[in-house]
């Protein structure tokens, strides 16, 4: 029974979902893990209206169901192992996203803030490099799949 609970909990800490999310609610999931947490570093990626000098009116994300989640779980586990931190949450949206809306969220809770910042930054850099997620931008010239470099 406790194993089931742990799995449910871990599955909430790494998600790829269509719906928007509340940063407060996601921070609370991390905070609930330990009263030792003193610093929470967060990265929230949002949809910009410009990309490579072009206007962008909307974007959408496609992910490889299963492999994307597996990759994000591995990033979370490596962060927990390699940094002096307490908890990590990684969340990425897919589907249509309006300009200004949330795309991706990393939340890292640690006793000390330097560790939280370092791990948070590592997670978003790593996510961009190894997670099978693709982006399509709507521009005045039409829609286009984007080859983004980290």
């Amino acid at each position: 029974m406790s194993m089931v609970n742990v799995d449910i909990e871990a599955s909430m800490l790494v998600r790829v979902q269509r719906e928007n999310f509340s940063v407060d609610a996601e921070i609370d999931r991390v905070r609930a893990q330990s009263k030792r947490i003193g610093g929470i570093a967060t990265f929230l990626g949002t949809a910009r209206d410009r990309s490579k000098g072009r206007d962008v009116s909307g974007i959408s994300f496609e992910h490889y169901e299963g492999m994307a989640q597996k990759t994000l779980r591995e990033i979370r586990e490596r962060a927990l192992k390699d940094f002096d931190i307490i908890e990590v949450l990684i969340l990425h949206r897919y589907g249509e996203i309006d300009i200004g809306e949330n795309i991706v969220l990393i939340v890292v809770g640690a006793e000390h803030r330097a560790d939280a910042f370092q791990a948070c930054r590592w997670c978003i850099d790593e996510l961009k490099q190894i997670t099978p997620i693709w982006k399509r931008e709507q521009t005045p010239q039409g829609e286009e799949w984007v080859e983004e470099h980290p």
Binding site: S51, Y64, I103, V104, D125, K128, V146, E148
Partner: protein, 91 residues
Amino acid sequence: MTLHVKLFGMLKSLVGDQTDVTVALTDGNQVRDLIVLFQAQYPKIGELLLNKKVIVSINHEIAHPETTISSTDEIAFLPPFAGGSGQLRST
């Protein structure tokens, strides 16, 4: 054996917006044989595979040219990733 190769992102537009293509392989075939097959049947995708602009995954793991393919494998072709948002720095 017949396998379905999942396609993502811009790759779909190279095969008339299909999300996968079906290929016939023989037992013992490796990823390198799959690439040769695509060079023949879908030259644009074959070239991207050859240049490693597109990578091959088998059962949600990155595969190598010498990885052997079996009939129950889930194969996917992955163009360059673009998750997250924006870029690290101005370019």
